[in-house]
Symmetry: C2
Subunit: 495 residues, 2 copies
């Protein structure tokens, strides 16, 4: 940055206004963090933890830094961080940041306020109300309420807490001591946040029943029905079913209509964990994957996953109007005074388990408003189409094997190195395959070429396979997909 | 912005790279959001919810916006948002944003990643480890562990969950059914998050005992001792004491040494909620308010309150090494593979109740590193000194009455309008005083001059009084303090 070179050696407290903020903007633009990095750039300049510790000066001391030192830190952060914006970052259920979303995030950070009262966040409160009613409508809830939570795990926890409250309202005051165990159900492919929630909420992880899924990973409605009966026979009290719309690993969608039938027959709360797969709601081509979601009692959806909004942006919706407030309110008089100079029913803070709550709604609203739904729809379709294209290539290319046809944008596959092709697939053979993905992963990261996740899936008896994920940002193309398979082939050819 | 005027009418998808980001930077600098606003600027341009809804176009539609439309939204957000950076924003336990902290927040948002694994957040993981060990040391824990949580309420919940786990590890798997109630203790001045936590965790709000405090609002150790015995006599099981270091309204500090004595006699976990008052740890002049904090089992501290870091930045620390992981882990194999290309013990995600976790540590570390501890110390001292100065003026100025001498930077006082001075202070008189603060507050907000909180305190039999709070950003001066009292006097003179 030209206008600041001469001021580098001065102390930060004497710098020109905004000098460090300008530096961040310049770095972001120079590295193309919001505008499509080159595939030839490194996705990460990898260092082991100990090496990184030597490069970075992490010490905190008494004296302030110079502008130069502060800028060096920013430079190093960029140098050694993973570029989730890189076209070949497929490692998680999120990717790079969308520029409009980042704009929304930056302005909210600068205004530093709190999503609890209209008093301190007039614009953001109106925006949150609006975006929640927009989303209720989008997911087919004719009425209801919602809240932005700090991530999908806590959104799922909201679902479990509301279900428990509706089942037995005096739990809020009396707790769940001295009663029969309450039991929750999720598929054996469900996200671990359901178990963690049960642990925190005092139900215990053993009181989450892992309902078997079919070969593709969809919860079996019949198995759910049986598991519910079995729990009742044990003298336990079923109250909550978590369906998953877009499972973490395989990306499959549970059959919501049939699960909703079971839940209404059995009088159970149906929560849909659509944290990952919920973005498909805007697609005309693929949204039938969510068929029946409007029958859920609640759902979680993370715009911070597929859409390219920065963490955190997670929504919890319920069709039970007023229940969030009833269940969670504590009526703190220092915050939610009823003798205010405006209609205090606009205040949202008492619906929440949090007190201070970051403004996560604005960037989503700004993203929807500025891009428009038409554009959003085509982005989601492009992410899905890239996954379909990749799956086809995996099927047709030698040395690759698809785990199953994708539903969400997860494409799961094994790479079989030349030396192992055409051999009997004994358990020893699979044992060797299990080591292939970790080794290729290590190589791709050390070269900084691409990042793709892998994992085993014990309950389906599957050894380590790649889980490749496409998202909306940056836009994945068929060329990128071809590069992925070629790179894996190159890196793994000697194994 | 000059270089973009001509491109305003084009669609956002065709705009120049970074155009909206540049606009945010320009707005932030123009409005002086990080550099000391003028006291003459408005703290808020107030509109009622309905009016605001008419000014803003909150609709979401199919088509994308033009650059001009997007910029108009940003402009409106600034126009109608509360300026927490205004020197006369004293409404909450936080203020404006510090520029260095904002720089840290912006770069983390741009890099959009997740604080769960070294794999996707190498720099941020090393920074979090470093800052946690720095904080353990700062608070006098000779060993331990910690985590950044999305706010103090959830940090407090971590304390309660760990205490429960240490008390009875099988709760993680079995839940708390079929056992005697577990009981938590906090003072009648404690934050409501302790009750909300108990509701979520299945203990129930009735199983949080509100221990009486002395006249200044400090928990009475003797009363705690009695309450614990009483709970045992009822057949209940005490397990957790929450002490507050800096209460929300009065800003008092519980006597930690004496409470630690009770806890060690009774075998109870001592958690210190230092969310608000913990920042005083860096002050040589005032840090004796935290005397004994190193004896706590855990503590919560929110840098996002007094220090000027943007929401969210909340830390949870415990001196029980390994316990966070033991208590919270679920060992998800898709995320925490043990066959990684680096030492997976650096991964932090399984200590957390969250899965995806926003990077909140970096901005704190960057703030500490760049400002240096020396500067931080003098900022905290300035915030405390402004509160002492204000309290003195309240005592000496006609028409003002101090509720009590401040400990933290909360200054609580009544304004007595001229027409009510020198009269017998009957309950009818107090009834009229109760209406003064809300009325003055409404007037100050409608004129946009300043914002100060007020509330009653029923358990101390106090009617609505102002709670004026000074923080580190912007730096509060004695001139500002004088202006506050003069403004209140002017606004309330006819009441
Ligand atoms: C004493 C105290 N503890 C905890 C909290 C909760 O912190 P947060 O708003 O970050 O959830 C507050 C909030 O004001 C507080 O005053
Ligand atoms: C299906 C599913 N649900 C919930 C979550 C949790 O979301 P978060 O990471 O925002 O807590 C995840 C995370 O990957 C997920 O895959």
């Amino acid at each position: 940055s030209n206008n600041s070179n001469n001021s580098n050696s001065i102390a930060v407290s004497d710098m020109k206004d905004g000098e460090l903020l300008k530096e961040v903007l310049e770095l972001v633009l120079k590295e193309k963090l919001v505008t499509g990095m080159d595939t030839k750039a490194k996705v990460v300049q990898f260092k082991q933890p100990q090496e990184l510790q030597e490069v970075l000066d992490l010490s905190v001391c008494n004296d302030e830094s110079s502008v130069q030192e502060a800028k060096l830190i920013l430079r190093q952060v960029l140098d050694y961080s993973v570029k989730t914006q890189h076209p070949h970052f497929y490692n998680q259920l999120y990717g790079g940041i969308d520029e409009v979303a980042l704009t929304g995030a930056w302005i909210t950070e600068a205004l530093n306020t709190n999503q609890y009262t209209f008093e301190v966040a007039p614009v953001f409160i109106m925006v949150e109300h609006k975006v929640i009613s927009y989303l209720l409508d989008l997911f087919g809830f004719t009425q209801g309420d919602g809240i932005f939570a700090p991530g999908g795990s806590i959104s799922n926890m909201y679902g479990m807490v509301l279900a428990r409250y509706l089942h037995q309202p005096d739990i809020k005051r009396k707790g769940i001591f001295a009663q029969k165990p309450l039991v929750a159900f999720t598929s054996d492919q469900g996200h671990y946040s359901v178990s963690k929630s049960a642990a925190w909420l005092g139900l215990g992880m053993d009181n989450v029943v892992a309902v078997p899924s079919d070969e593709q990973g969809r919860m079996l409605p019949k198995a759910l029905k049986e598991a519910v009966e079995e729990a009742r026979n044990r003298g336990h009290t079923p109250f909550f079913v978590n369906a998953t719309s877009g499972t973490t690993v395989l990306g499959t969608y549970d059959p919501l209509e049939e699960l909703a039938d079971v839940c209404s027959e059995e009088g159970l709360w149906l929560h849909v964990d659509a944290c990952w797969g919920g973005s498909v709601i805007v697609s005309k081509k693929y949204n039938s994957l969510l068929k029946g979601i409007e029958r859920a009692d609640s759902l979680s959806w993370n715009p911070h996953k597929m859409l390219g909004l920065s963490l955190q942006c997670s929504t919890f919706l319920t069709r039970h109007k007023g229940l969030l407030h009833e269940c969670n309110s504590a009526r703190a008089t220092y915050l939610f005074q009823q003798d205010k100079y405006y209609d205090a029913s606009y205040d949202t803070g008492d619906k929440s388990i949090q007190c201070g709550r970051k403004v996560d709604a604005f960037k989503l609203w700004f993203y929807l408003k500025v891009h428009g739904i038409g554009q959003l729809r085509s982005r989601v379709d492009l992410a899905f189409e890239a996954s379909r294209y990749l799956a086809e290539q995996v099927v047709s290319k030698e040395g690759f094997r698809l785990v199953q046809q994708p539903e969400c944008t997860n494409v799961c596959f094994w790479y079989i190195p030349p030396s192992m092709r055409g051999q009997p697939e004994t358990s020893e053979w699979w044992g060797r395959i299990a080591k292939v993905a970790p080794e290729i992963k290590a190589r791709m990261v050390k070269e900084g070429r691409m990042m793709i996740g892998y994992q085993p899936l014990a309950c389906k008896n599957l050894v380590n396979f790649f889980r490749m994920v496409t998202t909306c940002t940056p836009v994945p193309t068929s060329t990128h997909m071809d590069q992925v398979l070629n790179t894996i082939d190159t890196l793994g050819t000697d194994l």
